[in-house]
Symmetry: C2
């Protein structure tokens, strides 16, 4: 194969899992790793020979700025690919420049695709103008390694009309509601107890408000809506129901928030009971109604026996309603978070980019 | 893009839907259609200019044999792709020759991948030896347009270990059991009535025994097992439970079979009741146990509330259990039959082949 060169930005949970998946790829689909960085360390080779991830920690390389990195990669003796395993907005903002310089991008970073509509347009017009030379793949920006984005793109590319996208897009929200209000009626813990338990088990962000505000789900819905053709301005441009009680929005520390959360258990209990009265269960759901151009995120009462009501653990579930599929949607379900499965989406994308570029 | 040339074999339900999807593709990802055939008609242009599907019926072209077609396509002034929309074994047997001549293959035809292990090996070693020049894609050979094969390939390519594949792989079987023994206990029709109703609605093959013998499901399981790394000799090499009562295996015509089927309703009723006694429902399930190297197809009692028990209509459902996904499988669900959704899988594959070849 023609030589391909790889830069990996970010060596956290996803980045580490990705590097170990990368190392296990057959040589024929593994580009040469020439650049690796974490927050304040960089490792790269001036002459584009392979670097070893093990040497990052002890590296004393002078730090390249993003424009320097772009320059470095576009001067490589073959095509270059950036894998961005961060959730950093600055790196995301650099994608158009990477792509215009003929550098492909593979990433789970939601920021690039759920930020301003301008950034989205810049990214995809750079891809289009590259005429197949610079590609962008971002499967893991929704549902980790689940085939969500590839499926939506296939539906659209083959001429189907997507009418509605609906589902549970957060592993944390899934766990909270599957525990709080399971379909078999067995749940009897208070909402605040469930949140505390999820926090202790590491299922939430360090500050659970970063999950409960719904922004993570809103970002994913922004991406899906845009892929489905809607010009969505961003995750703040449609209704998103926050599960942070108004009075606790500025409650100070995460501990302070958790301490006061029980005061508001009655509100969530009410939702649960109202759903039960209708023979349903309450879930945190995201919806894109394509013909109406509407996106929304929040609590919904869901019929028992449906795939969403039957979810278990912290699984994600995504339903595509389309003209071809008719009344029964195409459904994808499974773990939507975790280093290994997120990295799997990244590695799978990288393989596809390599297959197309070589 | 460099020129790509397309031959389409088969213009039945899937073929017709495929041609209409093909016509709607943007010119940039649409290869030039130079050859089109149905059972006893062929249309092609000597100088590799585009032909129009509308002219097939009135074509008086001399019929090309498969070796002639291989010769014709390998002499094209650019790379060639065959789309085989038949379920013909002879065409399937020609894939290794196509691939060795640098011609890529896209197909929903199960026969190539569930036939002899030798044919499978010949196909994939031809792909490997082509070094990325000749590709084979067959998403629609299982679950129509559902992303089943691409997902399994991604799991394996990124280094996950698939431990078990389980699901409902036949739209007909799905409809029969979802109607006969729905999870809410509402079903009260006899088995033979359900089969008759499905036959009338066109949900079964003209002779329902072609569904009830389980061979179609066994073919799909053969493909999945082989993709997962098992050397399966073919659909007759593992246990497949036929739902054709022994006494009716040679009952003559389809009508004769349908007339006598009610005599055997007791047997299916017994399965249904036995399942209910265990709080379960009976379903027709296929399983691949990868570490044990076991494949089997037949009736199973399935826990209520699980995705399989909750299936509706004629949906397929495929569960991948893997090391990375742990206890909760990656699940794909939706319509697994029908011209439009099958053609969608073919068109989606064609787009990927075009992206890789150009």
């Amino acid at each position: 194969m023609s030589n391909l060169y790889l830069a990996v930005i970010g060596v956290g949970g996803v980045g580490t899992a990705f590097l170990s998946q990368l190392a296990a790829l057959p040589a024929a689909c593994r580009p040469t790793l020439v650049f690796l960085s974490r927050s304040s360390k960089q490792l790269y080779s001036q002459n584009y020979s392979a670097v070893s991830a093990a040497d990052l920690q002890s590296s004393t390389s002078k730090l390249l700025s993003i424009p320097d990195l772009t320059q470095y990669l576009s001067s490589a003796p073959g095509k270059a690919i950036v894998v961005d395993n961060t959730s950093n907005q600055d790196v995301a903002n650099a994608y158009p420049a990477f792509l215009r310089s003929g550098i492909s991008v593979v990433t789970p970073n939601k920021k690039a695709f759920s930020g301003t509509l301008q950034l989205w347009t810049d990214i995809f017009s750079a891809v289009e103008q590259s005429n197949g030379k610079a590609l962008v793949y971002h499967e893991s920006s929704i549902g980790a390694g689940l085939p969500v984005i590839s499926t939506l793109k296939d539906l659209i590319a083959t001429g189907d009309r997507v009418t509605k996208i609906s589902g549970v897009f957060s592993g944390t929200m899934s766990f909270l509601f599957n525990s709080f209000a399971p379909a078999d009626g067995s749940g009897n813990a208070k909402w605040s107890q469930i949140v505390a338990q999820a926090k202790e088990a590491g299922y939430t962000e360090p500050d659970p408000r970063d999950d409960l505000n719904g922004l993570d789900v809103a970002r994913k819905l922004t991406i899906l809506a845009r892929l489905a053709g809607l010009k969505v301005d961003g995750p703040e441009s449609f209704p998103v129901q926050s599960l942070i009680p108004k009075a606790l929005e500025s409650a100070g520390s995460s501990d302070e928030f958790m301490k006061r959360l029980p005061e508001f258990d009655g509100e969530m209990e009410q939702y649960k009971e109202d759903a039960v009265k209708q023979g349903k269960v309450v879930r945190y759901v995201g919806n894109v109604d394509v013909p109406k151009g509407e996106v929304k995120v929040g609590l919904e009462f869901v019929e028992k026996g449906t795939p969403i009501a039957s979810l278990r653990g912290s699984d994600n579930l995504i339903m595509f309603y389309t003209e071809r599929y008719g009344a029964n949607p195409l459904v994808i379900q499974g773990a939507g978070a975790g280093g290994d499965v997120t990295a799997m989406g990244v590695t799978g994308d990288l393989i596809k980019v390599v297959e197309r570029l070589r």
